[in-house]
């Protein structure tokens, strides 16, 4: 089933030149998608379009076949419940004035989801391997990796169908990155993931399908296995070649 469809989508900030042009994209339930590109390729703008935070300059974006209309409050409530996000910087994505329970519970309260909030927060924290007592603390009492887990707990507390993650591990050290990748892998059993990253190696670990973006255009898309084994576009080839590898000392 198609969750979100982008059809001939273009986007420009103000009257500037388009940062995205002619984007056709389909996000299917159960198929994790990786959107890969370098800085300035437009991948974060795609994420903002997918989240309904900005409207396309032209083209259509639909959720389950219906166009995303920010003015339709009841539609947006259903959309927000189904589509959540995790952001790059675990330090600026958590409100320093709020306790973890309030941070994680925000989607439940804002979307008026009828549930036992404390129990749902405890369950979400447990899903990201954080203890129940973390709920009463403030963000500054946690490490970067733990903060990213809290951000993931907030994203999954409303049991969304789709979680969009923007450079979710790029601000973390290697050991913590591995833990977050493992956590996302476990979560992807119940939720479709869209990972936006410059790191093709990271998204290939979790995604069945890849989209390669260069300067606002999709230059290649398809199954991750095919793209990794036989990249067709020179830009994709360069991205793969630039993936860091341990030097061969033999």
């Amino acid at each position: 089933m198609s969750l979100i469809d982008l059809t001939a989508v273009s986007f420009a900030y103000g009257r500037g030149r388009p940062v995205l042009d002619g984007i056709d994209l389909r996000i299917e339930a159960g198929h994790n998608l990786g959107i890969v590109g370098e800085s300035g390729s437009g991948k974060t703008t795609i994420l903002r379009l997918l989240l309904g935070l900005v409207r396309p300059s032209s083209g259509d974006i639909s959720f389950r076949g219906a166009p995303i209309d920010p003015g339709d409050r009841s539609f947006m409530r259903v959309f927000r419940r189904a589509v959540q996000a995790v952001f790059q910087d675990p330090y600026s994505s958590l409100d320093p004035r709020q306790k973890i329970v309030d941070i994680v519970a925000e989607p439940l309260r804002s979307l008026k989801i009828a549930t036992d909030v404390d129990a749902a927060v405890a369950e979400a924290l447990s899903a990201v391997d954080l203890p129940r007592e973390a709920a009463g603390r403030y963000p500054h009492e946690f490490s970067g990796g733990q903060r990213q887990r809290i951000a993931i707990a907030r994203a999954i507390v409303s049991q969304p169908e789709l979680v969009l993650a923007d450079e979710v591990v790029s601000a973390l050290d290697l050991t913590t990155r591995i833990r977050i990748v493992e956590l996302l892998n476990v979560l992807s059993a119940n939720t479709t993931l869209v990972l936006v990253s410059h790191d093709i190696g990271f998204v290939a670990l979790l995604c069945q399908d890849l989209v390669i973006l260069e300067k606002g255009h999709i230059v290649e898309q398809g199954p991750a296995r095919d793209i990794l084994s036989a990249p067709k576009h020179p830009y994709t080839q360069r991205l793969l070649e630039s993936t860091p590898r341990l030097p061969d000392f033999a």
Binding site: R80, R81, S93, D95, A134, H140, Q146
Partner: protein, 283 residues
């Protein structure tokens, strides 16, 4: 694999600093004295109760003024007037300033530019000068007019600060996360923006409170504040000016009252910031 980084111990106490205690004590003392004057004063503040310009004595702790009124009683009543002006002016400045600042922060770039330029022009006028203009344009000097004038004059500073702080908060990822979570703009203001800018604003309010007290004293000194028989500290200072060499306590006593309240407010403001900020709490 479980993240083995230990969850840090929770904060155990608020950071109550010595400066906060000193500030709270000074401000508290003025509040107690101001409230006390509602039910009791040593003498009738308008009655001649002793000789003119009498020095401090057991009967008149701060001496008497040029009309023989008890200075200590007048200073006590002056505390109530100073606190009334501070509370009134800061309430007006906060209501108008925070609202305008938030509107500017959320507004489109064009509206924001217009508001920011207007605020810049208003800030270029000294608070006292602006207050004098407003009082001069009104029917006449009164306590209410002074409060209104000082509040209006201070609101541009509060608005400018609120706009800057709110824009900084609105740029954070947790605001985007709140939007994705379905939180409305009003909810974002209530849940995220105000709590994050509050500690800085409260410090500014306390400073504005002190400035309002000084501004009222200055207006009264110039004859534009609370009219007689209101025992404003500024009026007491103005009346003592002519006799400052022969009866200096007439100027020293209200001066000490004024300075101690303003210093107390400044120290209290610093302490409030620490108490209001969970990231500054002691482990």
């Amino acid at each position: 694999m479980t993240d083995t980084t230990p969850v840090l111990a929770p904060p155990t106490s608020m950071r109550v600093t010595p400066t906060f205690l000193i500030g709270a004590t000074l401000v508290g003392l003025h509040i107690v004295v101001g409230l006390l004057t509602l039910v009791w004063t040593p003498y009738d503040p308008t009655a001649m109760t002793g000789g003119r310009l009498a020095p401090p004595s057991l009967a008149h702790w701060a001496g008497t003024d040029r009309l023989g009124r008890d200075l200590f009683t007048e200073i006590m009543v002056g505390a109530r007037i100073a606190l009334s002006v501070g509370i009134g002016a800061v309430t007006i400045a906060a209501s108008i300033g925070v609202t305008l600042g938030l509107l500017a922060a959320f507004a489109s770039r064009t509206v924001d530019d217009v508001l920011a330029a207007t605020l810049d022009i208003l800030i270029a006028f000294p608070t006292l000068l602006l207050a004098m203009l407003i009082v001069a344009a009104s029917d006449g000097a009164s306590l209410g007019t002074a409060i209104f004038a000082i509040g209006i004059a201070s609101s541009s500073i509060v608005a400018r600060l609120t706009r800057i702080l709110a824009r900084r908060v609105l740029a954070m990822d947790y605001i985007t996360a709140a939007r994705v979570s379905g939180t409305s703009w009003l909810g974002i203001v209530r849940i995220h923006v105000l709590p994050n800018i509050w500690p800085t604003l409260i410090v500014n309010f306390a400073l504005q409170f002190g400035l309002a007290v000084i501004a009222e004293a200055s207006l009264s000194y110039l004859g534009l504040g609370a009219p007689p028989p209101n025992a404003s500290w500024g009026r007491l200072l103005q009346e003592a000016q002519a006799t400052v060499y022969t009866a200096p306590f007439g100027a020293i006593a209200p001066g000490i009252a004024l300075v101690s309240l303003v210093i107390g407010l400044n120290l209290f403001a610093d302490g409030l910031r620490d108490v209001a900020d969970p990231t500054r709490r002691r482990r």
